[in-house]
Symmetry: C2
Subunit: 168 residues, 2 copies
C-alpha cells in the first residue's frame, strides 16, 4: 500500500488500490439521493410531507420533475403510493416512506448533524430533532456491534467483502 509510511491515524488503512469495488454500496445508496430532486423528496418525506401538492410547495420543483422523481422513488421501494380519501373529494394518492425509506433516517440525521456543524446557517438550524422521551438532541453515533463507540476513522478496519474483485 503506497501510503503505509505517510498515513495519519484518522483514515482507513487497507489495500484500496488492489480492489475493484464497483458496484459500491455507498455509491448505490447515494444514487438513490441523486439527482438533487430525489434527495429533496426523501428529505421532505422524512419531515412528514406526503401529498403531491405539499412536495411541490416545499421543494419548488416543477410538476413534471416531481412526478418523475416520485415515480422513481416508488419503483425503488423507498416510497409507497397509498390511496386516501379527503372528505367530499375524489380519491387521491399520497406518498409514504416504506420501511426501506424510513431506514434512511440514520443517513439523513447524519447529514443534518454534519451541516449544522460545518455549514451553519447564520440564523441557526431550521429543524431541531430531539428525543421525544427525554428531550435530548438526536444524532447518529458510529459504533460497532459490541457497542463500542468508534470515534475516529482510524479505529475502523476496512476489508474487501465478497463482492470485491481483485484488480488484474
Amino acid at each position: 500500500m503506497q501510503h503505509d509510511g505517510a498515513h495519519d491515524a484518522h483514515e482507513l488503512r487497507w489495500e484500496r488500490e488492489a480492489w475493484r469495488l464497483e458496484p459500491d454500496s455507498a455509491q448505490r445508496a447515494l444514487d438513490v439521493l441523486v439527482p438533487r430532486s430525489a434527495g429533496q423528496i426523501v428529505r421532505e418525506a422524512f419531515y412528514g410531507t406526503r401529498r403531491f401538492d405539499d412536495f411541490l410547495r416545499h421543494t419548488g420543483m416543477t410538476r413534471g420533475v416531481l412526478s418523475a422523481r416520485l415515480r422513481e422513488l416508488t419503483e425503488q421501494g423507498v416510497l409507497a403510493r397509498v390511496a386516501y380519501h379527503d372528505t367530499g373529494s375524489r380519491g387521491r394518492h399520497e406518498y409514504r416512506l416504506t420501511d426501506k425509506g424510513r431506514d434512511l433516517a440514520a443517513a439523513i440525521i447524519s447529514l443534518l448533524t454534519w451541516a449544522d456543524r460545518w455549514l451553519p446557517s447564520p440564523d441557526g438550524p431550521t429543524v431541531v430533532l430531539t428525543h421525544r422521551e427525554c428531550g435530548a438532541p438526536v444524532r447518529t453515533e458510529v459504533r460497532c456491534g459490541e457497542g463500542h463507540r468508534v470515534d475516529s476513522i482510524g479505529d475502523i478496519r476496512a476489508e474487501p467483502g465478497p463482492g470485491a474483485r481483485p484488480r488484474s
Copy 2:
C-alpha cells in the same frame, strides 16, 4: 396539522406545513454529495484514495470532471490539497479529507449500511468495515444526547429551529 388522525408511529409528527425550512441543513449536506461525481470522490476519499490518478482509475470519470469536482470539494473545505514528493519525481499534490470531510464518515457509513441491507448486490458487499479493536461490524446508531437508542422515527420530536420562517 392535516395528518393528526392518520399518522403511524413511525414518522415525525410536527407542523411541517407551517414552516419554511430552506436553506435546509439536510439539503445543504446532500448538495455537497451531489452531483454524483462529488459523492463518488468523497466516498473514494473515505476509502483512502488521495491521488488524482487513483481517483481517476477508481471513479472512471474524465480528467475534466474530476478536476472540477476536486476543486469544488477543496473550496468547500471537505478536501485539502497537500503537496507531497515522490522520490525522484517533481512535486505533486494529493487530496486528503479535512476534519470537515472526515466528519462525513457517519453519513457514508449510514449509506453503506443501508445499501447492504436494502440494495444487496448478488455477490455480497464490496467493503466490510469492522472495529479495529474487537472485530465487530461498524455501523451507525441513532441516539440522543442522553445515550438512549432511538429505534423509530416516531420517537423523534421535530421542531422548527431558529432558522425556520413561518409560512405567510
